[in-house]
Amino acid sequence: MSRGRRVGIALGLVALVAATGATGVLPGAYADDAVTVLDRARTATVREDFAGTVQIEWLDDGGWRSARTKVTGAGGAVQVGEGARQAGGRAEDRWIAGVTGWEVGWDEPVARKSPSPATRWDLTVGTGIPVAGRATVMVTATDPKTGAPRVRAYCDKATGVMLRREVLDRQGRVVRAVGFVEVARLGGATAVPPSAPQVVERRPSARGTDPTPDTVRALPARFAAPDRVTGFVLAGRYERADGTVQLYYSDGLFGVSVFQQIGVLDPGGMPEADARVRVREAVALGYEVAGGSVLVWERDGVTRTLVSDATAADLREFAVAFDDRAADGDGLVDRVADFLFGPFGWR
């Protein structure tokens, strides 16, 4: 190899390293690596013990709002919050602290897997900013149509635990963020797992808001359950004690829950809305809260409540598409296939 060629290759490598440093993207670390990082983050809280303080920030019509809470993880059990605002999880069980004590929040197996986030989003891995003093790897999910980043996830370099997650709007601005602001302990599953919470029985009068749903194979005729909605895939359908149906959709990055109730919406009993948006012919009440974006509207005697960690604009797009599909109704073939294969997650 001539001297000139060696110099050219060296300059090229220097330029590549410089470009990599400028953008924070690791060479060769794209979708597959990003999916691996996200998968590792999902299971890291089971492998690793941790303790610290997490801050959640969200943007509503009055500006930024924020709240902090304690989190701990030990022996695969996660606990969030204190006192009457508390939740816990281990494997596929979830508990919520109620006024009378711990209540079951979830005890159903999740049969259907989420789609890969790489199906809908362009994923890249890069060096992230330090979070609570910890070095991180950053996964960025970008909308392939607009090139705008929509999610940035910062995962601890050493343990893989997700330390911060930012949701961005279509213009690339952060609108919601959850992240550690203090890490007291992280790494090494050495602690003895805590015993499961002592669950209290709910009083009959409180069953109207029972948070524990049951998996169902088929839904009553008036409830819509399209299998796909704007890139989201139906990942579960559940029925609650009061007859409310919950559908859960996922695109691998965001989740959308669709709650359906028979009855016309009584807006007088609702909290003050942050926004009123049009969902086809209906006017929906919109909320921005710690748990995400919420839309409530009624059509043909069925009231629908959508909750998602996606942005308000994305949720509205989902709502319009869902409402459109609901008006058309599912075909007979869809219903039969759902009934037969739904419980096995084969669709």
Binding site: V54, I96, V178, G291
Partner: protein, 168 residues
């Protein structure tokens, strides 16, 4: 509700109740034969039958509507207006014209009554869907719980550890 029998041929015209029964197929064979004969002879009776048929179709074509919220409460509270107070005294008219007007008035009164009865039946008998107030804070928690099973547990469950942010 009983209706008057169909008058024999040559007597006075049958009223709208009879014509309506004829259209609904509620006459006996003998009554139908008698009325068919009279319809064949009388252009006026055929016209009257056509009017009743048109009015009946119009009533049956009315869309189903629920009463607006508070309608019955207001109706019971305010009561029905005095009909006589709103109706002006008619001027004297010739006898045959009076008879025709009276017959037309009876016909439209019957049609109007039928329409009102139909509307009332729709409002009362068609079950109105119950109103619901979705427990949005509970639904938000339920979404967080379900989401935590497939996404990052900590970032999904954190909203359960803080106040949801709904304004009363």
């Amino acid at each position: 509700m009983s209706r008057p029998p169909i008058p024999p041929t040559g007597s006075v015209d049958p009223d709208d109740t009879v014509l309506s029964a004829y259209l609904d197929g509620e006459c006996t064979d003998a009554e139908r034969v008698a009325l068919d004969a009279r319809l064949a002879d009388s252009a006026d009776l055929r016209a009257a039958l056509a009017e009743v048929a048109a009015a009946r179709d119009a009533v049956r074509g009315l869309p189903l509507r629920d009463a607006p919220p508070g309608f019955f409460e207001r109706l019971l509270a305010e009561g029905l207006p005095e009909a006589s107070a709103a109706v002006p005294t008619p001027a004297p008219v010739p006898d045959d014209l009076t008879a025709r007007r009276a017959r037309r008035t009876r016909r439209w009164t019957a049609v109007g009554g039928a329409a009102a009865a139909a509307m009332l039946a729709v409002v009362v008998l068609v079950p109105r869907p119950a109103s619901v107030t979705p427990p949005v804070a509970t639904f938000t928690d339920a979404h967080a719980v379900r989401s935590s099973l497939q996404d990052d547990v900590v970032s999904s469950l954190v909203p359960l550890g803080v106040r949801a942010g709904f304004r009363p």
